[in-house]
Amino acid sequence: MPRLVKTQFEFEGRVQERYVVVEDDPAGPLPEEGALRYVGRPVPRVDGWEKVTGRARYTHDVRLPGMVYAVVVRSPYPHARIRAIRTAGALAIPGVLAVLTHENCPPIPWGREGDRVLNPVVRYHGDEVAVVAARDLATARAAAAALEVEYEPLPFVVDLEEAMKPDAPPVRPQGNVRWDRASRYSRGDVEEGLRRAAVVVEGTFRTPVQLHNCMETHGSVVDWQQDRVTIYDSTQHLFGVRDRFAQLFGLPVHRVRVVKEHMGGGFGSKNGLHKYTVLAGILSRQLGRPVRCVLDREEENLAAGNRHSTLQRLRLGATADGRLVAIDLEAYAAVGVLGSAGSIGGPARQLYACPNVRTVEVPVHTNTGPASAFRAPGYVEGTVALEVLMDELAGRLGLDPIELRLRNYTEVDPISGRPYSSKGLRQAYALGAAMAGWDAKRGRVAAGAATEPDEPARRRLRGIGMASQIWGGAGGPPAQAEVRVHPDGTATVVTAGQDIGTGTRTVLAQIAAEELALPLERVRVQLGDTDGGPYAPISAGSMTVPSMGPAVRSAAADAVRQILELAGGLLEVDPRDLELVPPGRVQVKGAPDRGVGLAELGKTLGQYVIVGRGSRGPNPDEYAIHTFGAQFAEVEVDPATGEVRVLDLWAVHDIGRVVNPLTASAQMEGGMIQGLGFALLEERVMDPVSGRVLNPNLENYRVPTVADIPRLHVAFTGEPDPHGNNLGVKGAGEPPIIPTAAAIANAFYHATGIPVRELPLSRDRVLALLRRHGIGPDGRRQPSRAGAAEGGEDR
């Protein structure tokens, strides 16, 4: 029987209290690792066939009879009042069916700042001005180009630090620096801690705007019919889209269906309902036809979300023996016209045992597209500042960076005081150091030390660095699943979640096959349709496997309970004396010859489908559940050309039990590559004069190519979490991107002796840094300027 309890829930660094429905969990403890057939095995993706044949259907590929194409007209100005929109020319083009502007669009509210879907004032380059619908895409594009819009340009500001100035043009009437929405945290007394500290290091850090650039751009097809609306959407949260859409249009949820079979990447940018879905919905209702609205790459990079840039002022105070006594972080995030700051202070609050911590995270508006979650929002940026400064602290104290981290190691969550359910960080440090050859490589001299006489005229500077990772990833309720066991002894797992490319289908199939004692090929997983099954949560926050996995396992266990019950009737045995063994056979314990196969049992049941139900139970309130990890980077810096080349990346993460080492390793590698891009290549560039994005394309916004990838080494600590859930799993999505950039920055520091304050480490920045710190093109310190090279200073 379901019952209601109150529990704490952590998502992307923020803790909320919420009610959850708790059901009995029939799943017992998992057998020992050696006895597991699928869980923990490198099972190839169950949907691999669809993807390698081109048969997998993405939102881009949805084609419906009578489908209409919608194209959004976007502002070329960073801030303007729309004086007039003349639609006659566009509407005169044959095949153009409708034009929506702020003048004729239903007044649907958008965001929490009082906007509507279409507004008379546009606030960023790419802001939605109008939407045009036509019978095909080319006609819609032509009509969009033919729309005459008269703008009155308004003052604007696109840079974070410019926007913080008192005389900056206001992006919104509420002002730019949103102290009213700041997140503040404090424990102990930071000022006192700093006074007591034997050493204080500080720095001002700047991180760039990173664009998701999912290979499949955002988009929807909305098919509004009299009694129901079907939305095909490239989304990480089917139910989030359903509920918000229903709410905005005043529809009951049973009339709204959201479908997503496959999606070409999300990384946080597809966490909820977007404007194009709403606009397509309005048009579909108006035209009585399905409407497709898919962004192009430029729109994607202007208006589909981004990782906000940050400005962080961080101070660390420590005792002479390296115990942290103060962490003080003031962080500003350029959230664009809408959006909130990620948990930039998360690592500062959580990673180390420190009695005195103060963090404040302040959203700042700029005339740029709305920021959104991007894989470990805030934590990537915050880890760069914290872990880079930790290495400088280690340098000041004469400690090995890992030793400094171990001296501040904590077995309890410093925020809540609760013990961690499991923490493999110590093992990750040790294993990572061993894999990377840390001790030997740290011994190498940094730049500026005396050079050997037989060295080449120009030397590349080599260094190794590391950084730690902390993140949530506990998962939690609500998440529900059904397991249907068919009369022929096969099973379908049904839950209305989504596989965003991480391998969710495969992992859930493994879990169900394990519990049902069935061969994997007799289990199929059905996802991606809100009408198709019970609730599954958003695929974000590293919570998919630890939320849906336990629910599926419970549902399978519930089905097994029913199978044994029914088989007991057939075999005339007490069900408690029966067991289900591979491959799908019920037998009497201790008497294996007395039993019945599932298919045979099914024949006696007629067409009866056994339906097992399961839901994710709450997390234990007495533990703090987190993922941990450490990454190591070895880099080579060319002092003549400013090239930073990463030679190797090593990652060791504690994500609890690894259900599928194959897909989990792939995900680790992917996170590291995105982290490498963030460290070295990726940066949205704004033109301060026009206020426009200069690189909204994949030519000049540089995501890494195959030729940019170093050697990658991945390992897991692998211990199942004993307290979190019935599988012992934690999340894997975010952890691998969190420490990569910080590890690379620390390797740069080791190679050059120059602390990093700003990313990405592009050639222009690197060359300027080297020269400012007195390192010449030959890689040697120029004596006259050596004084500038003392580490730890700010700039």
């Binding site: 070329p76 005169a92 080319a138 005229a457 400013g642 301060p688 426009r692 190519t705 050639r763 222009d764």
Partner: protein, 376 residues
């Protein structure tokens, strides 16, 4: 959002958009060079030549071109071919793809810089389509131009990239000052092969239709790229509106006289236009014997990514002539290469790249010379 109409598009242009046809309203494949040239000269509206289409279709996608007529010259025999010419040099048809040029052994060793420049361009799929002729005629990759900001090359009255206060990334270092041909424009010429062709002293063969016949002319690569901003109608080369690039002619290599190479600096390891690139062709004097640094008989050094045209380093060339190329000389050449540079705010770091690239490339060639001599 932005609509650039080609001159001569039919009135009521939007209605002329064929359904499903983002790339242009009408298409024809020409059967002969004469027909193509006559169409360029006489057809109205004038067609836009289409060969590989890699730049044209990205310009169309970006709203920077909207040709009413596409004239497919991609199968013209007269523009094809790759091989020795009657003068003892080498003729590269305008339709030779970058992939063909990059294929090992496709060009004699003396033209290595061209093969390397082709191989360093773009990506495999683009090199398979992109032709040498189209590569020379491509538009700038300027971030401002390509995102629809005001640009002299697009016919606007100023370049947004040169506005005070902007820090356009990856801009020019040379040739953009008042009084110079590229004045007011911070863009750089994007081609890799063009840089190599100037260093190799190639000639570009053009043809046009005149009364009753076909007129050809050859322009030295060094003057084919005037580095001039010309209101956007003519592009970045000496080609006149009615002309087509027919071929590129490489001068006779001579027996081992010249060796060349091309080097390119980018942020990403693939698929990026040059931050700075360098083509060097060098002729050595007689070998002085083991231990001696090789002595430069003559050299041509050309930079890419630094100006609106491939930028020849004539002063460096003159300085190198007759000089023994050791480490010090190479470094000094690198220093000389940035003499007179005037970087824009977004391109200051390129000076360092130029210094390193020039020195490293010269040393690489010298080392090769040593190795060859030692092998003999």
């Amino acid at each position: 959002m932005r609509d650039v109409q080609e001159p001569g598009a039919p009135p009521g242009a939007p209605a002329a958009v064929a359904p499903g046809a983002p790339g242009g309203a009408a298409y024809a494949r020409v059967q002969s060079l004469e027909q193509a040239l006559r169409a360029l000269a006489e057809a109205s509206p004038p067609p836009v030549a289409l060969a590989g289409g890699t730049d044209l279709f990205s310009l169309i996608h970006q709203g920077r071109a909207r040709p009413a007529r596409l004239m497919d010259i991609g199968r013209l025999e007269a523009l094809a071919g790759l091989g020795p010419d009657a003068e003892g040099g080498w003729r590269v048809g305008a339709l030779a793809t970058l992939a063909e040029l990059a294929r090992p052994g496709a060009l004699p060793p003396a033209y290595r810089a061209l093969a390397q420049a082709a191989a360093a361009s773009a990506t495999p799929a683009l090199r398979n389509r992109a032709t040498l002729g189209g590569n020379l005629e491509q538009q700038v990759r300027c971030w401002f131009f390509r995102t629809g900001l005001p640009c002299l090359l697009a016919g606007d009255n100023h370049c947004a990239c040169a506005a005070p206060g902007t820090a356009g990334p990856f801009q020019a270092v040379f040739g953009h000052r008042a009084g110079e041909p590229g004045a007011g424009c911070g863009a750089v010429h994007p081609s890799d092969p063009a840089v190599a062709l100037v260093a190799l002293d190639a000639q570009v063969e053009l043809a046009r239709w005149t009364e009753g016949g076909l007129a050809r002319r050859r322009v030295p690569a060094g003057s084919y790229f005037p580095g001039r901003v010309d209101g956007g109608r003519r592009g970045l080369t000496a080609r006149e509106p009615g002309e087509l690039v027919v071929a590129v002619h490489l001068p006779p290599a001579g027996e081992g006289a010249w060796s060349s190479l091309y080097r390119k600096v980018t942020d990403r390891q693939a698929w990026q236009f040059a931050l700075v690139s360098l083509a060097v062709a060098v002729r050595w004097q007689e070998w002085e014997g083991p231990g001696a640094a090789p002595v430069v008989g003559g050299a041509r050094l050309v930079l890419g990514g630094v100006a609106l045209k491939p930028w020849r380093l004539e002063a460096v060339e003159a300085w190198l002539e007759g000089r023994a190329l050791d480490e010090g000389a190479a470094r000094r050449a690198g220093e000389l290469a940035v003499d007179g540079a005037d970087p824009l705010p977004g391109s200051r770091f390129k000076l360092e790249l130029i210094r390193a690239l020039v020195a490293d490339a010269l040393l690489e060639l010298a080392a090769e010379r040593r190795a060859q001599a030692a092998a003999r």
